[in-house]
């Protein structure tokens, strides 16, 4: 059965004359073509639903899928399978739905629900929820519901951007350290150890004090701390991947180190990277909120959910719950949602380990 699958695979490859990411032999072909053709990169074939190829280029994906994987005869099939596993996970669907809802709430909401977030209105300060202001008003007379949308834009933008930057830096750092090993690895990973042993919040506070915080600088500051975890993970993956046959084959064929890392090692570690990136978003939003709460994050008149909570906590003794619960709820919802997605992605990327 396995041989049959392999034959079908070969035939499919030849027919398309394109290189599937999911086959080591395919990768070798690509290298041969590239070396011969003077650096002309073969386009990576996007598989059926767009999730297969980029997420699952694992060397052992389709060809050695094993007897029980009869349903997955191509990368597209794998993609569909993964999508199905992901969708079967109710919590994952809930997580995606929550994230989409929050994105719509923050970015489309202000077009539907017009509020004044610019001029302070002292006649309207700290009013309890009413029909005019469903979630009341804050100490500056801003509508809290509208403020939540405005603050959410900052939280989500910084969270997503910081997670993306952190992941990219971490991936390159980890891949280079793991691939070259030796002294480079020792020095680079000791640096990561050192940074990780400083309690992150203290370092964030130091950075936020030295570099005056705004939206952009906070993205960089949070990313500057968050890249350590992906660096460690990717280094671990790289250490196992660099001994695989297809990577050694590239070396034998005279492939450059850069090519081995960028085209073979990183794509094969992409599962770990994507899962971690999802958790990074949640962490970045939490860090931003924590900084905002401590008063060294986003500065007034800008706002994020953490700084809203910080403002609200000044009025906690008066029992103004609408200044605390909505912002707190937004943070918890978004973080839980991203955690759900991350867990589900981890499950669906390990699809070949599942007994199906």
């Amino acid at each position: 059965m396995r041989g049959e699958e392999q034959r079908i695979e070969e035939q499919r490859l030849m027919e398309r004359e394109l290189v599937e990411a999911g086959d080591d032999r395919g990768d070798l072909q690509a290298d041969a073509v590239v070396e011969a053709g003077g650096g002309l990169l073969q386009p990576r074939l996007p598989s059926g639903d767009g999730t297969g190829s980029p997420l699952f280029p694992g060397g052992e994906a389709p060809a050695t899928h094993g007897p029980e994987g009869g349903e997955a005869t191509s990368a597209g099939g794998i993609g569909t399978l993964m999508l199905r596993v992901f969708l079967e996970n109710k919590l994952a669907v809930l997580g995606v739905a929550l994230v989409v809802t929050m994105l719509l709430f923050c970015f489309v909401g202000p077009f539907l629900y017009h509020t004044n977030q610019i001029t302070i209105n002292l006649n309207l300060i700290t009013q309890a929820p009413s029909s005019a202001h469903p979630l009341g008003t804050d100490p500056n007379g801003f509508d809290v519901l509208g403020r939540l949308m405005y603050a959410g834009q900052t939280s989500l933008e910084v969270g997503l951007a910081a997670a993306m930057m952190a992941t990219m830096l971490g991936v390159f750092w980890g891949a280079i350290a793991g691939f070259f090993g030796g002294v480079a690895d020792a020095v680079m990973m000791r640096f990561v150890d050192v940074m990780l042993s400083i309690p992150a919040l203290f370092l964030l506070i130091v950075l936020a004090v030295l570099f005056h915080p705004n939206k952009i600088s906070l993205m960089f500051i949070i990313a500057a701390l968050a890249w350590l975890t992906p660096a460690r993970l990717v280094r671990g993956e790289t250490l196992t991947l660099r001994t695989r046959e297809y990577v050694q084959a590239v070396r034998v064929m005279g492939g450059k180190s850069r090519r081995m890392v960028a085209r073979h090692i990183i794509p094969n570690a992409i599962g770990t990277i994507v899962v971690n990136a999802t958790f990074q978003v949640a962490d970045a939003i939490l860090f931003l909120a924590a900084l905002g709460y401590l008063g060294v994050g986003i500065q007034y008149p800008q706002a994020d959910w953490g700084s809203m909570l910080s403002d609200g906590s000044n009025y906690v003794d008066a029992g103004y719950w609408w200044l605390i619960i909505p912002a707190g709820l937004c943070i918890v919802i978004v973080v839980v949602a991203f955690n759900f997605i991350g867990d589900a992605l981890r499950d669906s990327l390990e699809v070949r380990l599942q007994q199906r």
Binding site: S197, P199, F202, V209, S313, V316, A318, I331, V335
Partner: protein, 310 residues
């Protein structure tokens, strides 16, 4: 050895941070002294902190200072950073140890309970609760607790006792409850999940089957055989979660106005009191590294199978 490298590295990171301050030494002086500082004051600041020296001398100055517990001077509080830290650190240690003990006392039985009733409704309920608490930052939880238990129902106080003495602080359970519970709650979630999987692993081991085969009772298998082995990884988890706990303490202290290292750091940060912030960061790092080292040693003591290479 690892710990020494890490500590050395931390001083290097701090030193590098100083190099990247916008506008160099003058910028740092202005950050600390305020924008209306005279050129004379700025000059004094630069000389006093050795910022006019070449970089290697500056680094030596920094290392030499830290080795003598000299973290600089707080111009805002008119005290040395060392005195401030000696004043605030013990209180933070008390908060941290109290909430760690509470977290363990709650999380270990919870993990055992979940293992015994695994995949039953009560397990699912507890797991989802753990998920939510895991995602809830301490400033959200702390403020919610204040709102309901201190303001609406007035059971506990919204802030900790502001007394100077440690003994008074320790004996005032009424006011210390909320901060300790808040800090414990964020770790209980992680601890109980870890305890659950650790117990599950222990149950899958051969010695548990042997014990069962010998005819040991359910309780005996659970507590004598499985639990004792499941507790060992918790030591590592304690070491690993130290940075999170220390970070959580910073926020919890701010929420409850607890005069510890965290509040000291935040207030110094808001005042741009750079040397205080960096001093507390160094101390927190040293404490964290020492804690992790202790956890490693305890791990080897608790589990005779672990031997560190010489």
């Amino acid at each position: 050895m690892q710990a020494i490298i890490v500590l050395f590295g931390v001083t290097l990171v701090v030193f590098l941070l100083f190099q990247f301050v916008p506008n160099g030494p003058v910028g740092l002086a202005r950050t600390d002294l305020g924008s209306r500082a005279t050129p004379f004051q700025i000059h004094n600041f630069i000389v006093a902190n050795g910022l006019n020296l070449p970089w290697y001398a500056q680094y030596w100055h920094l290392l030499d200072g830290y080795l003598h517990l000299n973290f600089g001077y707080s111009y805002h509080r008119n005290q040395t950073v060392r005195a401030l830290i000696f004043e605030y650190l013990p209180r933070s240690l008390i908060l941290l140890s109290m909430s760690t003990v509470l977290a363990l006392v709650v999380a270990i039985p919870l993990g055992i309970f979940q293992t015994v009733r695994r995949n039953k409704p009560s397990d699912y309920v507890l797991s989802s609760l753990a998920f939510i608490f895991y995602a809830m930052p301490s400033f959200v939880l702390g403020n919610l607790l204040i709102l309901y238990l201190a303001v609406d129902h007035q059971i506990f106080a919204p802030a900790v006792p502001q007394s100077e003495g440690l003994v008074q602080m320790l004996t005032d359970f009424h006011d210390m409850t909320l901060p300790v519970v808040t800090l414990a709650a964020i770790t209980v979630a992680a601890f109980s999940r870890y305890m659950r999987s650790s117990m599950m692993d222990a149950f899958a081991q051969d010695f548990v089957r042997t014990a069962r085969a010998k005819g040991a009772g359910r309780a005996r298998v659970l507590f004598r055989h499985a639990l004792r082995n499941a507790l060992i990884p918790i030591i590592t988890l304690l070491g690993l979660s130290l940075p999170t706990m220390v970070g959580g303490a910073v926020i919890t202290e701010t929420v409850f106005n607890f005069p510890g290292m965290g509040l000291l750091t935040t207030q110094a940060a808001l005042n741009y009191d750079v040397y205080v912030v960096i001093g507390t960061t160094i101390v927190a790092t040293v404490a964290t590294v020492a804690g992790s080292l202790l956890a490693d040693i305890l791990y080897a003591v608790a589990d005779p199978r672990i031997r560190y290479a010489r």
